[in-house]
C-alpha cells in the first residue's frame, strides 16, 4: 500500500469537504478504494454533475499536478501521447548538414527527446520523481473504439513505446479518473479495468450544501429556494435536465442581478441559465415555472 495523504474513507470525505466538493459518502468510498487499490476510476453521469471536478479536486487533495486529456472523435496518438516538433527538426537538419554531420548521426540527433512534444498521456507516465500526477481522461465516450483499445493497453501497464526512443514506463502510476457522458456505451474490457461510479443528481439538501460551498456569498434564503426550484425542474420531463453546473451558474446570475430571493421576474429573466433547449424554455416560461416557484418559495 502506498503512502497517501488519505488513509480512510473519512479522510477522503474530509478532504473533499475542505476543497469545497460536496459529495455523498459513496463517492468518497469509491475514491478511497481507487487510490488504495491503484485502479482507474470510471465516472459516469449526466452532463454537469461534477465528474470533471472530481479530477481537479483529487489533484488538489493529493497535492499534485492535474493532467487533463479531453477526448474527441478522431483523437489519436499524435494528439494524446506524443508528436515530433517537425519545424524544429527541419531547422536542426539544416544546421547539422552545414556542420557536415553524417546521416546516422543526424537521425539519432533529431529523434532525441529534445524534439519530442509531450502530450498529456506521455506527461502523465513520465514523471521524474515527485508525486505521481492525477490523469483526467475527460469524456471518453467521444473518442472512438481504436483509442479506447489503446487506452486499455496503457492503463494495464502504464508504459508507452516510442519507436525512435524506446519504452517509457511510469515508476509510479498516476491516479486515473475517466469520465463519460454515456453518449455511447464504453467497452466492457475497459470497464473491467476500472472502478465504476455513477454520479447522480444531488438531493435538494445536498444541492443546498453545494451552492453554499461553491458560492460562499449567496444569501441562505436564495440558496434554499434555488435548490428547491432546481429539484422541481429535474422532476419535469425535459430534454436536458439542469446539472449542478447550471445550478451554480444560475445562482451566480441571480446574485449578479442583485436578487436576494427568487421572484417571478428574476426567474423569467434568467431561465436561460438553467435550460438550454428552446422546447424546454417554452415549457418553463410563464405558468410552467410559476408553480415550481410557488413551491420553492414556500418550502
Amino acid at each position: 500500500m502506498k503512502d497517501l495523504p488519505v488513509s480512510s474513507i473519512e479522510d477522503v470525505e474530509r478532504a473533499l469537504q475542505q476543497h469545497r466538493y460536496v459529495a455523498d459518502r459513496s463517492l468518497a468510498t469509491t475514491i478511497f478504494l481507487a487510490l488504495t487499490l491503484d485502479k482507474p476510476l470510471l465516472l459516469e453521469g449526466e452532463a454537469g454533475v461534477g465528474k470533471t471536478e472530481v479530477g481537479k479536486v483529487l489533484a488538489e487533495i493529493l497535492n499534485t499536478r492535474l493532467i487533463r486529456l479531453q477526448c474527441y472523435e478522431g483523437i489519436d496518438v499524435n494528439n494524446a501521447v506524443y508528436e515530433w516538433a517537425y519545424a524544429k527538426q527541419m531547422l536542426h537538419i539544416r544546421l547539422l548538414e552545414s556542420a557536415g554531420t553524417n546521416r546516422e548521426e543526424t537521425e539519432r540527433e533529431i529523434y532525441s527527446p529534445q524534439f519530442l512534444v509531450k502530450r498529456p498521456l506521455l506527461q502523465a507516465i513520465e514523471n521524474d520523481g515527485g508525486n505521481p500526477p492525477v490523469l483526467l481522461i475527460d469524456e471518453i465516450d467521444r473518442a472512438d473504439d481504436e483509442f479506447e483499445a489503446f487506452l486499455l493497453e496503457l492503463l494495464s501497464d502504464f508504459q508507452i513505446s516510442i519507436p525512435e526512443i524506446g519504452t517509457i514506463k511510469a515508476d509510479k502510476p498516476p491516479a486515473v479518473i475517466i469520465t463519460s457522458n454515456r453518449t455511447r456505451e464504453i467497452h466492457d474490457a475497459l470497464k473491467r479495468r476500472c472502478l465504476y461510479f455513477w454520479i447522480d443528481y444531488p438531493s435538494v439538501d445536498r444541492e443546498f450544501e453545494i451552492i453554499t460551498a461553491r458560492v460562499p456569498d449567496v444569501p441562505k434564503k436564495l440558496a434554499h429556494q434555488v435548490s428547491a426550484f432546481i429539484g422541481g425542474v429535474r422532476r419535469l420531463d425535459l430534454y436536458k435536465l439542469p446539472g449542478i453546473a447550471e445550478t451554480l451558474d444560475w445562482t451566480r446570475s441571480l446574485i449578479a442581478l442583485g436578487e436576494m430571493e427568487l421572484t417571478e421576474s428574476a426567474v423569467q429573466a434568467t431561465l436561460g441559465s438553467i435550460v438550454k433547449y428552446q422546447e424546454d424554455l417554452e415549457r418553463l416560461r410563464g405558468a410552467g415555472s410559476r408553480e415550481l416557484l410557488a413551491r420553492a418559495v414556500n418550502a
Partner: protein
C-alpha cells in the same frame, strides 16, 4: 476451526459465485481486488460495502440494483456456512424480477427455430425474382415471403461512408509531416518526396424506428431483415420498435433470430386497439436515446404508415427535433404502394415538412433503392429549409 481470515474469504468467494451465476464478470481477476477492498473498509457499514460492490462489479447504471439484490441475498443467507444453493437460487429469482421491470418482453429469446424452411426451397428463377421484386409485401404468400427474406439476406449492401477525423497514409489531402520528415532524411533533409495523409472513412451509423402496430408488422419483419443485411455490411445499426411504447431491440437482434425477437415483442404489446402514437414514440426516443445513439452523425429511417392516433402538434414538435439531431431523416411508407395513395393523415401532414426523404417501402425494389440512397447520401448533408415550428397552446 479455521482462522477468521479464510472464513471471510471463502464466504465472499461464494458471493462471487452468485454474481457469476447472474452473468457478472466476477472471476478471480475481479475478485482479488474486491477482497483487498474488503480489508480496507469497515464491513460493518452497509453503505460502504454496497459502494465497494458497485465499484467493482458495476458496468452500467441499470445493473446496480441487481447488484444490490445479490448482495442482500448473500448477506441474508445466514452465517458463514449458509446454504449456498439456496441463496444463489434466491438471487437468480431476484434477477428475474429486476429484468422484468426493465422489459418483460425482452427477457428470454430462445424461442425455438423461427420457421426457417427457406434454405431447402427451390431457388426461384430470374423472372420469378423480377416479379417478386415488384410485388407488394402485403400480397406475398408464405413461400414468397420466405423467398423474399432469402433475397434480402443475399443483398450486397455497401456501407455508406462518412469521414472520420482520424487520418491514414495515402491520398492527396494533407501533408503527413511526420513521414515527410523521415523520408527527407534519406536525401540529407531535402524535401524531394512528399508524403500525404487523408481522413479515414467509417460507415455512417443507421437508426431504425419501426412501427409494429397492426398492418405494419408484416412490413417491419422484412425491413428488419434488411437492417440485418446492412449490419453485415459493417454499418452500426440501432433498432427500435414501437406501437404504443418504444422499445430498443438492438441487443436482441445482435445474437438472435429476427423473427423470434419480433414475436416476443409483439406478443407483449397487448393493447392494439390503442393505436399507434408515433409522435409520442418519437418524443420518447428524442428524450431517452437520441443523445446516446445519434452521436456520430447517424441517419434515421422511420418506418411507418403514418396512421397516428396521437396529437398532430406533438408529432410536429417531435419530428422537427428528430430531424435537427440526425444527419438525414428518411420516412419509409409501405402505403405508398397503394394506387392513388396520398399522405393525408394529420400526423403525416404535420411531419412531412421535416422529413428529408419520403420513400415507398412495399417491395424489394424499394429496399434496394433505400440501400442506394443510404450509400449516396452518407457523405453529404441534405439541403434543408428552415421550417418554423408553430407552437400551439
Amino acid at each position: 476451526m479455521p482462522d477468521p481470515g479464510t472464513v471471510l474469504t471463502r464466504n465472499w468467494l461464494h458471493f462471487g459465485r452468485i454474481l457469476r451465476s447472474l452473468g457478472f464478470d466476477a472471476g478471480p481477476v475481479r475478485m482479488l481486488p474486491f477482497l483487498t477492498a474488503l480489508t480496507v473498509i469497515d464491513l460493518g457499514r452497509a453503505d460502504d460495502l454496497r459502494t465497494a460492490v458497485h465499484a467493482h462489479f458495476g458496468r452500467r447504471r441499470d445493473e446496480l440494483p441487481i447488484l444490490d439484490r445479490a448482495l442482500a441475498a448473500f448477506l441474508g443467507a445466514h452465517g458463514p456456512d449458509g446454504d449456498a444453493a439456496a441463496s444463489s437460487r434466491t438471487a437468480v429469482r431476484e434477477r428475474g424480477a429486476a429484468v422484468t421491470l426493465t422489459g418483460r418482453q425482452l427477457k428470454v429469446l430462445d424461442e425455438g427455430e423461427g420457421a426457417e424452411g427457406a434454405e431447402e426451397e427451390e431457388v426461384a428463377s430470374y423472372s420469378q425474382v423480377e416479379v417478386l421484386r415488384q410485388k407488394d409485401f402485403d400480397t406475398l404468400t408464405e413461400a414468397e415471403t420466405a423467398e423474399v427474406r432469402r433475397l434480402i439476406r443475399l443483398m450486397r449492401l455497401p456501407a455508406g461512408l462518412t469521414r472520420s477525423r482520424r487520418a491514414r497514409a495515402g491520398g492527396r489531402d494533407r501533408l503527413d509531416i511526420r513521414r515527410l520528415l523521415r523520408r527527407s532524411l534519406r536525401f540529407g533533409g531535402e524535401l524531394l518526396v512528399f508524403s500525404w495523409k487523408s481522413p479515414t472513412l467509417r460507415p455512417r451509423p443507421l437508426v431504425l424506428l419501426c412501427d409494429i402496430s397492426g398492418s405494419m408488422e408484416r412490413y417491419t419483419r422484412l425491413l428488419l431483415n434488411f437492417a440485418y443485411a446492412l449490419k453485415n455490411a459493417s454499418t452500426r445499426v440501432e433498432t427500435f420498435v414501437f406501437a404504443t411504447r418504444l422499445t430498443r431491440i438492438t441487443r436482441l437482434l445482435r445474437s438472435h433470430d429476427i423473427d423470434a425477437a419480433l414475436n416476443r415483442v409483439t406478443a407483449s404489446v397487448d393493447d392494439w386497439s390503442g393505436g399507434t402514437r408515433i409522435g409520442e414514440a418519437i418524443e420518447t426516443f428524442n428524450r431517452r436515446y437520441a443523445r446516446r445513439v445519434l452521436g456520430h452523425g447517424a441517419t434515421v429511417a422511420l418506418i411507418s404508415d403514418g396512421w397516428d392516433r396521437g396529437d398532430a402538434a406533438q408529432m410536429r414538435q417531435a419530428i422537427a427535433r428528430l430531424q435537427r439531431s440526425c444527419h438525414r431523416l428518411i420516412w419509409m411508407n409501405p402505403l405508398m404502394g397503394a394506387p392513388g395513395y396520398e399522405p393525408l393523415t394529420l400526423g403525416l401532414q404535420a411531419a412531412l415538412p421535416f422529413v428529408d426523404d419520403f420513400l415507398p417501402a412495399h417491395n424489394l425494389a424499394n429496399l434496394e433503392a433505400l440501400g442506394a440512397l443510404l450509400l449516396e447520401t452518407a457523405s453529404r448533408r441534405p439541403v434543408r429549409r428552415q421550417t418554423p415550428v408553430v407552437a400551439t397552446a
